[in-house]
Amino acid sequence: MANIKWTTADPKGVLTGAHYLDGNHAACEGALAAGCRFAAGYPITPSTEVVERFASRIPEVGGVFIQMEDEIASSIALQGAVWAGLKAMTVTSGPGFSLMMEHIGLAAMTETPCVFVNVQRGGPSTGTPTLPAQADMMQARWGSHGDYEIIAVSPSSPQECFDFIIDAFNLAEIYRVPVMFMMDECVGHMTEKVIIPEPEKIKVVERRWTDKKPGEYLPFEPDDDLVPNMVKAGDGYRIHVTGLTHDERGYPAATDVTVHNKLVRRLCDKIYKNAHKIWKWEEMDTDGAEIVVMSYGISARVALRGIEMARERGVKVGLLRLIVVWPLPEPRIREIADKVKAIVVPELNVRAQVAREIERVVAGRCPVIPVGHAGAGVHDPNDIYNAIMEALK
């Protein structure tokens, strides 16, 4: 039986009340509420405030922050901390995220529950360090070598930074995957009221500790839901954890195609087969819509203005806002695609990163119209409006 225990937040990490916070600070508070007690990071605009706040808050909460020598170190120190039993995160933006790719793969392979926060800025390369983009969405999923799956969550307000980073930590624990918390500079630097509930109202997943004894326990034997239960260093299990292909004992089996196949498929299947429990999205007026706009993060909010403009002209436009972007809620997208004239996908990238995946899912049921933007700013709502009007034709 999948050993998933929901509890409530440790009050030490919870600043109950109404706060006026930007997304970066709110994400830090959410992480603390979710039970994150270790963060390793390396400064980078526009994400550093998350760890700056963590550094200042953690001594009172109990835990550690360390600024490592680089992002590579941060992204693995975090995994050491997880195997010592803590919940942990690292925080970065574009260039740092690129440096973390090897360790996202390690976390996927060793099924280390952890959260990578990426406050997206304009790229490629150093790009526009202080300005927004949503152009690391595909990287979040494909950036490390080999096959694995992750979960990506995208908030569109400071309140959601708080709320959904808790989801991110919970999902990480349930599925033992690295979860990508994909913010953008706009959301990170936007300040709004953030209501932090009482600790008892915050639902938190504990680590799925095994209830087996040292002799019986196999560290990578999957439970019902394809996810293995866990132990930590120091508990007497004497586990071995390796980034090599390994069997259920955790022993390397790096030349065994059968073990490899089983492992890699399970790493993907645990997301695919549980996808319906992971999906999260919000819909507005999709019933009876002629056009549905699908978007996420800041772009979903910007799109609302374009939608409003189209509505003023009598067009029936709905919005599907993705909160969990990966995995995509494919059945619902197909359902909508069967009913609408077109799907319009505004996002702050020019390679239609999420749109192309929607297009694949839609498989010709209706046109999918990406509304790209290179970042360093947000869409002009007119562009979204125009795309909607164009799509109607």
């Binding site: 170190a73 995994q79 050491g80 195997w83 010592a84 299990y237 071995h240």
Partner: protein, 289 residues
């Protein structure tokens, strides 16, 4: 020379025997260092359930996989930052990094110097076999000047690191070097390192007969052990500046070069927090874990 005697091979309880025989080549020095390590751990009395071992990738990196301890085989070069996270998140654990020269000093060099600077409370055992074993004998930052490796087929144009000096320059509190010939001394230094608070570093010079020695026509593993015996000069406490090994023919200075005290990163962290936050600060890793 005094050797503690056990009724059964003390290394045995440390081995994942179901994984034997190991993949190391005949005469490879890595296994020898493991014998010393196993005995050192027993001798210093650390509870085995509280000892974690972290390796990078390489022949030496496989050590983690053969030891019946909580053991982590991470990515190439990154054992130290993984160990840092492990140690800081649960300061009760004793954390040992066991890896190769390429892993720790080539790709992992930055982590090495920063951990030493921070006096992070981890112990690093570096098996230096003068090349990259796992990938087939490429040049390492430890390869003797002018010697052959697959990527320096005409000879290495690089002066190798003086590893003890490098880590000492960054502030390591315990620095020693031995060869696989010096099993007794190595074991003794390992005991000291394990008991030491702070960043301890032990370089173990070891034969890689299959690759480095064969390519450079240096004979068998036994030959290199004999060379170790002949060329070694024990100089405890010598300035690490003096212990460089540039050429295969150089004398090999071995010994315990540095053995000093300073607060660890976590000591300083707790100290500083206490100073600023007063009694409301609960020192991390002292009673919790």
């Amino acid at each position: 020379m005094s050797v503690t005697t056990y009724r059964e091979n003390p290394v045995e309880q440390f081995l994942r025997t179901d994984r034997m025989p190991h993949i190391w080549c005949p005469g490879c020095g890595i296994g020898t260092s493991v014998n010393c390590f196993a005995r050192a751990v027993l001798e210093c009395g650390i509870p085995l359930d509280k000892l974690a071992i972290v390796s990078g990738i390489g022949c030496t990196g496989r050590v983690a996989g053969y030891l019946r301890l909580d053991s982590f085989h991470t990515t190439h070069g990154r054992a130290i930052p993984f160990a840092t996270g492990l140690k800081l998140a649960n300061p009760e654990l004793s954390v040992v990094v066991y890896s190769g020269d390429g892993d720790l000093a080539a790709i992992g060099g930055n982590h090495l110097i920063h951990a030493a600077r921070r006096n992070m409370d981890i112990k690093v055992i570096c098996v230096n076999n003068f090349n990259y074993g796992m990938t087939g004998g490429q040049v390492a930052p430890t390869t003797h000047f002018g010697r052959l490796a697959t990527t320096t087929p005409y000879g290495s144009p690089e002066i190798p690191f003086n590893l003890p000096h490098l880590v000492a320059s960054c502030g390591a509190v315990f620095v020693a070097r031995w060869t696989t010939y010096h099993v007794v001394q190595l074991q003794r230094s390992m005991v000291k390192a394990l008991k030491k608070k702070g960043f301890a570093f032990i370089e173990v010079l070891a034969p890689c007969p299959t690759l480095y020695m064969r390519r450079n026509r240096l004979g068998s593993s036994v030959d290199m052990m004999k060379l170790f015996k002949e060329k070694s000069v024990v100089k405890h406490g010598i300035d690490t500046k003096e212990v460089a090994i540039t050429n295969y023919e150089d004398p090999i200075i071995v010994g315990e070069f540095v053995d000093t005290e300073r607060p660890t990163w976590l000591d300083n962290y707790n100290e500083i927090m206490k100073k600023r936050l007063g009694d409301k600060y609960v020192p991390w890793g002292v009673n919790n874990g």
